[in-house]
């Protein structure tokens, strides 16, 4: 089945190092996206016409453009057009954050808009001040709405890091390809074994996050 290739030399270790590269890029992008997205989502909820106009265009661009095109524009485009020399990793984090902030902001905006005005009023009527109302009533409800949706976004971001090999980053999928190429003669069936392990590695990276989401959803069922 071609699993033997993995035991040759330090192939398995190399795959794990590739996974580390992918996870580093996604982790950094996820952190930036969560922070930036929450901030932008709150700003958008203030309903300033100019800000929201710009935001809508931004969101549409992110949704319409394939991530790969964005990667090419930022990595190859800026280097040539603006003379900025970005590392491939930096370009990847920029593109993934650009995407993540837009999507995250939309989730926050949606969650905020979904809280009925009367929930604020009921809090104030009980004597809670604005900060207390947000802390004990509004934010906990927003978190409950946000968790499944943001976990979905995070796993999507991790999976999509497989695209960064197209701008020359040697992440887990690229390492897999290299191993297959290098062992074409000795292990012609290597592809199945190697890609199966790559699949498993992605699964191991995303599964705990999904489980966390399931756990929180169950805990907050009410």
């Amino acid at each position: 089945m071609g699993f033997d290739v993995l035991l040759k030399g330090n192939n398995l270790l190399r795959l794990l190092q590739g996974l580390e590269v992918a996870l580093k890029i996604s982790l950094l992008s996820v952190v930036i996206s969560l922070a930036g997205g929450v901030l932008l989502g709150v700003v958008v909820s203030l309903k300033n016409n100019v800000v929201n106009g710009v935001y809508r265009v931004y969101l549409e661009i992110v949704r319409i453009m394939p991530q790969l095109v964005l990667l090419f524009i930022v990595y190859f485009g800026t280097t040539k057009a603006m003379g900025i020399n970005l590392s491939a990793e930096a370009a990847s984090v920029i593109v993934f954050s650009f995407w993540g902030i837009a999507e995250m902001a939309d989730l926050v905006r949606g969650a905020l808009a979904g809280i009925p005005v009367i929930q604020y009023e009921a809090s104030y009527a009980l004597g809670l001040n604005r900060i207390q109302a947000y802390r004990f009533v509004i934010v906990p409800q927003i978190l409950r709405r946000m968790v499944p949706l943001s976990i979905n976004l995070i796993t999507r971001m991790i999976k999509t890091t497989s695209l960064v090999m197209m701008i020359g980053i040697v992440e887990v999928l690229k390492v897999g390809q290299q191993i297959i190429e290098a062992n074409r003669k000795t292990s012609p069936n290597g592809a199945f074994g190697v890609f199966a392990v790559v699949f498993l590695l992605y699964f191991l990276a995303c599964w705990p996050i999904s489980m966390l989401s399931k756990y929180l959803e169950k805990k907050w069922e009410n």
Partner: protein, 245 residues
């Protein structure tokens, strides 16, 4: 008896339309005042102005001798004196029944959690819902939720209860269980300001009836005079619309 609520010539406008103007009213401690009137007459807005959920344009509101000022820290302090129950119950969906009830006493009044919970359980017992303490709002019927909302307001030990059409969203068979709780509270001598469409209930609970139309008090009086000898044509017409009862 001393006056607990005094409303002096308050006016409110939405854009250019008067919601009410020059409205005055005073309520004595322990008095039950029921406000009725056609939809859109300003009665709900009036209640919401009393605890500052809506601002007034002119006039002043005194609660227990303190002037209600908009946009100050004092408003939170004054709101503790006013318990409000809304038409749509508005329990907090992420908190259990007991947590809903003790949130404000513990966080706002800094009361001891154990003590607040003990009192909450006592009140829940009285409205027949002590077995629901660990349930969540969505597991309760409308009538049960509204009884919880009343308990939640009571636990803040308010001087005045404001009830804003608390049975309007309920199925008919649940109206009674909620109104019986209110009658119970009325007999305890609580001060209440009630907006309702339930005329039978109004008759049973009110010390004084007020008919509000187009933002003005058209008629007020004891429930006997109010229902049996209405003086104005407008009130006669309004009461007639309930006559099939």
């Amino acid at each position: 008896m001393e006056e607990i609520l005094t409303v002096k010539k308050i006016s409110k406008k939405y854009e250019d339309v008067d919601v009410f103007s020059d409205l005055s009213l005073s309520v004595k401690k322990g008095e039950k005042v029921v406000i009725v009137g056609p939809s859109g007459c300003g009665k709900s807005t009036f209640l919401r102005c009393l605890n500052g959920l809506e601002t007034i344009d002119e006039g002043e509101i005194l609660i227990d001798g303190e002037k209600l000022r908009q946009d100050t820290k004092e408003i939170y302090h004054i709101r503790e004196k006013l318990g409000m129950v809304f038409q749509s119950y508005d329990l907090f969906p992420h908190l259990s029944i007991l947590q809903n009830i003790v949130l404000a006493p513990v966080r706002v009044q800094k009361r001891d959690k154990k003590e607040a919970e003990a009192e909450a359980m006592e009140l829940l017992e009285r409205v027949g819902l002590s077995s629901k303490k660990d349930n969540y709002p969505r597991q309760l019927s409308g009538g049960q939720k509204q009884r919880v909302a009343i308990v939640r307001a009571l636990l803040m030990h308010p001087e005045i209860l404001l009830l804003d059409e608390i049975t309007a969203a309920l199925d008919p068979e649940m109206v009674r269980e909620v109104l019986e709780v209110v009658l119970l509270l009325a007999r305890e001598g609580r001060t209440m300001l009630i907006v309702t469409h339930e005329m039978q209930f109004a008759k049973a609970v009110a010390d004084r009836m007020i008919f509000l139309d187009e933002g003005r008090i058209v008629e007020e009086g004891s429930p006997e005079e109010f229902f049996t000898h209405p003086r104005t044509d407008r009130l006669k017409k309004f009461l007639k619309s309930f006559a099939y009862e």
